[in-house]
């Protein structure tokens, strides 16, 4: 693809001609992005094919293990086609290709959602704050927007500079999505390459979105000491009117805060959020706004009857929310054309008239596209409606009502058969029918309130309401502290830890990201985060996972955000913010290559990704990954060389990317200094992995932080963590059976386990393996090393 500098600029310092002399002529037609000091890299604004070679290197090592959800294809009218056991469809596609095609589609949905979010923020905030608003991410952030610089080669200085970045992302998403049409791409590896391309675009879009809101809305700028705010249903003061905001686009919520402040009544109204809007409203206000919880807390909270007015913006909002809102006699305001929910458009109506319509029940909700109008209607409605809704607050079923409903249960087990968690609902109902509701209350922790049980109950029992009412006490006790999302990582922080990460003496960076589809409840994420922070990994978090980390208290009653530092350092737990803030995690990894290793950043994607894959021990953990966005985020990490572990529900993404440690030829690298091709070992062993259980993830995390470039000391530290966690779960007398693959020389062996490991190595006939501090998968990097050694500018 050509560089999309579509406009024209003529700059002449001095020209002498027969017509006369010209000095300092500078003519611009349209908008030109300023040049920057770093020389252009090899791949500015990459198209689908530009990074294909890098993708194929990755995908030949980490081949898909397909786990088809469906054996058919039903995307065109030639079908449905049976693709089972080697058969092909009418168009020629095989089952494997169809899975890769569907993953491409899923990631296109995810990437376009972030791109659309970014576009909306950019357009609105450009109008409000001016297109010359500078990209200033804080005093200690000198390399702003590393992903954008890496991918496009543009160093954005103002909001206006982000236009061509988003233009590029949008065009590429359309181009890639078109490949999913019948009769386009026809090979799994090129579909998977497109998945990686979409992931990369997704990270650019996320970075644009989050940077736009940070610089325009005064969100924390790389602040390790961002304030702590309240999280949890129990934190809400129900004596006040309650406005609940749900989704991902903070603008309507921010307008509500501004409106309340302008009236001087901010302390009279509770504003609380669910999902990523909750993170962002606390990043905006930094004091009073509260987080209820992740997206799966939506129905939990709404069924308590506490919210008076519910504002929805975009993404991950229950699509029949209006039905639930009507049950509690609250009102719903939709604020984006992406989710209007059949409501009447009242954007241009007089706000007081709309308030009247809502309070009187004439309409149960409205679409209002103007943020200011939304804010006025929401606040006025909440103030009027709250006193009329007192009876609904905490209006859950009584114990007697629960028991009566439980007695109606016919034990058909339809609820269980429709529960994605396979919760033992029927058993709990049997116990409840006898007067003991404790078994129902236990289900609360693992239930993510999808209501599939209710939809399939032949007796019409409101099963979710029964579970919630049984756990009323638990819900009321949900009061935690969450650190406000801090945004980017400082360059100074990267400088301080870069060396230790690359050498392995900080054993890894573990990023807890993604949605709330946890197999056994939120607290598992908190347990993992605490464990790895205690082991001096750098723990970062975003989105619903960052909320889950808050939902745990130690013996002293402190949440992990109170217990650990918020700095990007060994033993820190860093909340970067909402899911678009994931860009700061990939950005930090890129900055390690750029700031610490001094690799050129500008449009130099493959070299940086190769560096990360081989040297930066980072792993993403999306324990509750659910959405298409999560798939796109993960694929952006893969292309950068960062493996991702998902929870058991993540297997539904249809294929994993697994390395095969027994195939030695897959694990060869070049020594960048000598050009020699040597065995680098299975590190990281997998690129995308769905763990079935908590303990499997806990063992897999340290393993996937191992990198070929680890120093012996670093490797020994990483193996200490791997072995000790393995022993904790499987017994002190056991060693991981694959440990010999990761020991190159005796110096890699952790001192604590030396004798035991040596005995095992003898048993399996282990032999020493080569060690290189400069592994690479790219031949061109060898050449670059030579040229750099000779001082030649590349």
């Amino acid at each position: 693809m050509s560089i999309p500098y579509r406009n024209f600029r003529l700059k002449v310092d001095e020209l002498k001609s027969t017509f006369g002399e010209v000095k300092g002529l500078d003519i611009s037609v349209g908008y030109i992005v300023e040049e920057w000091e770093e020389p252009p890299g090899p791949t500015p604004f990459p198209s689908i094919a530009t990074l294909r070679t890098w993708d194929h290197i990755l995908l030949n090592r980490y081949k898909p293990l397909y786990l088809p959800y469906c054996d058919l294809c039903c995307l065109c009218t030639y079908g449905r086609c049976d693709l089972s056991r080697g058969k092909r469809g009418s168009c020629g596609l095989s089952l494997s290709e169809q899975q890769s095609r569907l993953v491409t589609l899923v990631c296109a949905i995810g990437a376009s959602t972030h791109a659309s979010h970014a576009r909306e923020l950019l357009e609105r905030l450009k109008i409000r704050h001016g297109e010359d608003t500078p990209i200033d991410l804080g005093g200690e952030v000198y390399v702003e927007m590393p992903i954008t610089r890496l991918v496009t080669g543009v160093k954005p200085r103002t909001l206006r500079d982000l236009e061509i970045v988003l233009d590029y992302v949008e065009k590429q998403i359309v181009q890639t999505l078109a490949s999913v049409h019948t009769g386009q791409e026809g090979d799994w590896i090129d579909y998977e390459s497109k998945v990686l391309h979409l992931g990369m675009l997704d990270h650019v879009a996320m970075e644009v979105a989050d940077v736009v809101q940070i610089v325009s809305l005064g969100m924390p700028k790389a602040d390790p000491e961002a304030p702590l705010v309240h999280l949890g249903i129990g934190a809400i003061d129900i004596t006040k009117p309650v406005i609940l905001v749900i989704g991902h686009n903070v603008l309507p919520s921010a307008a509500i805060i501004d409106y309340l402040e302008s009236l001087g009544i901010r302390d009279k109204v509770e504003v609380c959020g669910l999902c990523c809007t909750a993170h962002d409203i606390t990043r905006y206000e930094k004091k009073r706004a509260k987080i209820i919880g992740p997206m799966s807390w939506e129905l939990r909270f709404i069924r308590t009857g506490i919210p008076d007015v519910i504002i929805i913006d975009e993404q991950c909002i229950y699509t029949n929310l209006l039905e639930e809102v009507r049950k509690i006699n609250a009102v719903l305001i939709a604020t984006t054309d992406k989710a209007m929910r059949g409501l009447p458009d009242r954007t241009y109506a007089d706000p007081d008239t709309v308030v009247e319509e809502l309070v009187s029940g004439k309409i149960s909700g409205a679409v209002i596209f103007s943020e200011e109008q939304t804010a006025e209607v929401a606040v006025k409605t909440a103030l009027k409606l709250a006193p009329m809704r007192i009876k609904y607050k905490w209006g859950l079923l009584s114990k007697d009502q629960i028991i009566e409903y439980a007695k109606k249960c016919s034990r058909c087990r339809n609820c269980e058969r429709n529960c994605p968690q396979n919760l033992p609902i029927s058993t709990a109902m049997t116990i409840a029918a006898k007067g003991d509701i404790s078994a129902l209350a236990i289900l609360y922790r693992r239930c993510f309130a999808c209501r599939r049980c209710e939809y399939d109950c032949p007796r019409g029992i409101p099963i979710l309401s029964l579970i919630l009412a049984s756990a009323k006490e638990t819900m009321g006790e949900e009061i935690y502290k969450c650190r406000v999302g801090r945004g980017a990582i400082q360059d100074t922080e990267i400088r301080a830890v870069g060396r230790d990460i690359v050498l392995g003496t900080i054993p890894g960076v573990v990023a807890f990201v993604g949605c709330a589809n946890w197999p056994d409840g939120a607290q598992d994420v908190a347990k993992m985060a605490r464990e790895f922070a205690s082991r001096r990994y750098i723990v970062v978090a975003s989105g619903c996972s960052a909320m889950a980390i808050a939902m745990f208290k130690n013996e002293e009653g402190k949440t992990p955000y109170e217990e650990f530092s918020g700095a990007f350092e060994a033993g820190g737990i860093v909340n970067v913010g909402s899911c678009i803030a994931n860009a700061h995690i990939s950005g930090a990894v890129i900055k390690i290559a750029n700031i610490f290793a001094k690799l050129p950043l500008r449009a130099n994607y493959a070299e940086i990704a190769d560096y990360i894959l081989n040297r930066v021990g980072a792993v993403g953990v999306a324990w509750g990954a659910m959405s298409q966005k999560a798939a796109a985020i993960a694929s952006g990490f893969w292309r950068l060389g960062v493996p991702v572990i998902v929870g058991p529900h993540g297997l539904k993404y249809r294929r994993m990317l697994l390395g095969d440690r027994d195939k030695d030829e897959n694990w060869h690298v070049y020594d960048a200094m000598t050009g020699e091709r040597i065995y680098g070992g299975p590190a990281p062993e997998h690129l995308f992995y769905a763990a079935e259980s908590f303990e499997e993830a806990m063992v897999m995390i340290p393993k996937l932080c191992i990198r070929p470039a680890d120093t012996p000391q670093g490797r020994a530290i990483k193996l200490t963590n791997y072995i000790s966690l393995y022993k904790r779960f499987y017994g002190n007398d056991k060693l991981p059976p694959d440990i010999h693959y990761f020991i190159r020389t005796e110096a890699d062996i952790p001192i604590t386990y030396k004798d035991e490991v040596m005995t095992y190595l003898k048993e399996v006939g282990w032999k020493e393996k080569p060690v290189t501090p400069n592994p690479t998968l790219l031949k061109e990097v060898i050449e670059k090393y030579k040229m750099r050694r000779k001082g030649i500018k590349i």
Partner: protein, 178 residues
């Protein structure tokens, strides 16, 4: 319900579906046929099933493994502790995805039986579908209380108490001299 696969949303519209074995004698026949060439995979939920039914489910699978000379493969720490405590040696700790990867990529020369139990339903469902399409030499048998459509053979969806009785009957019949 017994002849239907378990989870409603996951019933595939696919053309190759498991045979639901309602007669335990058929299960015995199949397992005996693959004596010495089978493995048993136990998932993370097997010990949760133990808690719910109040029976030593893992030990039942040890009996089955002994009867057909099969290895048990698991990554569930509680299961490992049980196996150690009863002195069962013929087991390996291995993650389910890695064993499925091995089974489907190392196109085996001989036919073998992979028996699964105790996996989260959808997780097991997808592992089985991978083996169905990409492990042509592999036959799969689900011994979970929830019928699995992507296995070659599966037990029916039955209440847990009946399922546990069926497992006991299966063990008796496997142990009985043929």
């Amino acid at each position: 319900m017994a002849l239907e696969y378990w989870l409603r949303g996951d019933i595939p519209p696919g053309p190759i579906k498991a045979i639901v074995l309602t007669d335990i004698k058929r299960v015995v026949e199949i397992m005996k046929r693959y004596r010495n060439s089978s493995i048993i995979l136990l998932g993370s939920q097997i010990t949760k099933l133990e808690e719910i039914v109040g029976e030593k489910v893992v030990e039942k699978f040890v009996d089955i493994a002994n009867a057909i000379n099969s290895e048990i493969i698991t990554s569930n720490s509680k299961t490992v502790k049980i196996l150690d405590s009863i002195g069962f040696k013929r087991y390996r700790i291995m993650f389910p995805l890695e064993i499925v990867q091995k089974l489907s990529r190392n196109s085996l020369k001989y036919k073998m039986l992979v028996t699964l139990a105790g996996f989260r339903y959808a997780y097991g469902w997808l592992l089985l579908n991978s083996l169905k399409h990409y492990g042509p030499g592999i036959y799969t048998l689900s011994l979970d209380p929830y019928a699995q459509p992507n296995a070659t053979w599966t037990l029916p969806s039955l209440p847990l108490q009946i399922w546990i009785k069926n497992l006991s009957r299966l063990i008796e019949m496997l142990k009985a001299p043929s």
